[in-house]
């Protein structure tokens, strides 16, 4: 209890430290929102971690990922049916709308990636730059209803855990995808065909499930903005359950093109209400109406 209380106090202090200097602008509003999420996450993490017989954390269930761009932690309707997904404060929303207006990705000479992007070897950079000249046309995931690959697909929407395997189910904007991660010590399947989501085996390191995936097709991207990889890509994901939250991290290793391993943007997964539903049909309708090259990355 004391550690939970001190966590909450720290989160509150962090909130005010962020709020006071930043009250004047959109950055301050974003900081307020992020601090609120951190408080919520801290509350969830402070709960007792559910465990299976034998002591391992139970990762099973439906999960929302804490996506910083798209949604608040767990949007839901109130008694009157009001729902706010994100940008619920009108002042912050107006500031964000203005910022968006002034930061459009109209690619003329190429779009600059926002945020977290892999560090490529010099010999690979020209290929990445060429892709960035026409992102809407070259992005294999966007406007194609195609499999995003790993780690671009992000964390799973549903986890089914047994002692011998963990199954990941995805409610992705492009469709329903799945992965089966063997936990019985078997090696990677050398006979498996390469695929966008590869071949996965896993093991536990304390309370963290570590998943290693290889055998990828090379035609996906690690993330937006032309983040190529080769068939020799190796991805290591880590799932750590703390209370009612799962901390998800993913590292991409591909020395043929990457100057150093790339850490994908992490996620905090929180319990999602309801049961995983089949993804709606994916039908691309945007490209025919686009009048400029403004890049439109899919939400994760």
């Amino acid at each position: 209890m004391n550690s939970m209380k001190s966590r909450l106090v720290r989160a509150s202090a962090l909130t005010w430290l962020l709020v006071i200097p930043g009250l004047a602008g959109a950055q301050g509003d974003r900081a307020i929102m992020m601090a609120a999420r951190q408080r919520q996450a801290a509350q969830l993490e402070a709960r007792i971690t559910p465990r299976l017989p034998g002591g391992l954390p139970d990762l099973s269930g439906s999960w929302n990922s804490q996506d910083k761009i798209w949604s608040d932690l767990n949007p839901s309707a109130d008694a009157k049916g009001n729902i706010c997904y994100t940008d619920c404060d009108p002042v912050a929303a107006a500031a964000k709308a203005t910022a968006a207006l002034n930061n459009l990705d109209r690619t003329v000479a190429g779009a600059t990636p926002h945020g977290n992007f892999p560090d490529y070897r010099p010999e690979a950079r020209a290929r990445v730059a060429a892709l960035q000249k026409d992102l809407n046309g070259t992005d294999p995931y966007l406007h194609n209803c195609a499999n995003p690959g790993l780690p671009r697909i992000g964390p799973p929407s549903y986890i089914a855990q047994t002692p011998r395997a963990v199954v990941f189910l995805y409610d992705n904007v492009n469709g329903n995808y799945w992965r089966i991660v063997s936990l019985d010590g078997r090696p990677h399947n050398a006979d498996a065909d390469p695929s966008p989501l590869g071949d996965s085996v896993g093991h536990w390191e304390g309370d963290t499930l570590v998943v290693e995936t290889v055998n990828f097709t090379p035609d996906t991207w690690l993330t937006d903005y032309g983040a190529i990889h080769t068939a020799d890509l190796r991805v290591v994901e880590r799932f750590t359950r703390k209370g009612d939250a799962i901390i998800y991290q993913a590292m991409a290793y591909d020395p043929a093109v990457l100057a150093k391993p790339w850490q994908a943007t992490g996620h905090i997964l929180t319990p999602a209400p309801g049961k995983l539903q089949p993804a709606a049909e994916c039908i691309e309708k945007d490209m025919s109406k686009m009048v400029n090259e403004a890049y439109h990355p899919n939400p994760p």
């Binding site: 539903q277 993804a279 049909e281």
Partner: protein, 140 residues
């Protein structure tokens, strides 16, 4: 899934009836660097628009939900608008679905950005229904 009941738009007066003219406004505030997401190739963020009408059908699909809404113009004639908005996976996080979006064909105000190629095409950020409840997808 396409939700397309036998609803037919009528000329019956509603609390939202009347000459509803799309509002176009330009935002002119200092820029702040931040990441963004949006279908800017199709929609003009500088042209905010609000229309009010009744939704006649919903395409509950990915990557974007589409819905058709009939709006009365200044002459009282019903004009068909097409709206595009967030993915179904996103909308479903709050238990929202096609039935709740259509709300039985009751009047709804839709706010968002005007399409670049079609004057009756818009991106929907926010919905306000006739009983006052709102669905706010946020700024995308």
């Amino acid at each position: 899934m396409v939700l397309n009941p036998s609803f037919r738009p009528t000329n019956k007066a509603t609390p939202f009836a009347g000459a509803l003219i799309p509002v176009v406004c330009l935002l002119a505030v200092a820029a702040v660097a931040s990441a963004h997401h949006g279908v800017d190739g199709e929609f003009d963020r500088g042209k905010a628009v609000t229309i009010t009408g009744t939704i006649s059908n919903v395409d509950w699909i990915n990557p974007h939900i589409y819905f058709t809404i009939y709006v009365k113009d200044a002459a009282g004639k019903l004009v068909k608008w097409q709206c595009e908005t967030v993915p179904t996976a996103y909308a479903r996080r709050a238990g929202f679905n096609a039935r709740k979006l259509m709300d039985g064909g009751t009047p709804v105000s839709v706010t968002g950005f005007l399409g670049r190629t079609d004057p009756h095409f818009m991106w929907a950020n926010k919905l306000v229904y006739s009983d006052g409840h709102t669905v706010n997808f946020g700024v995308h």
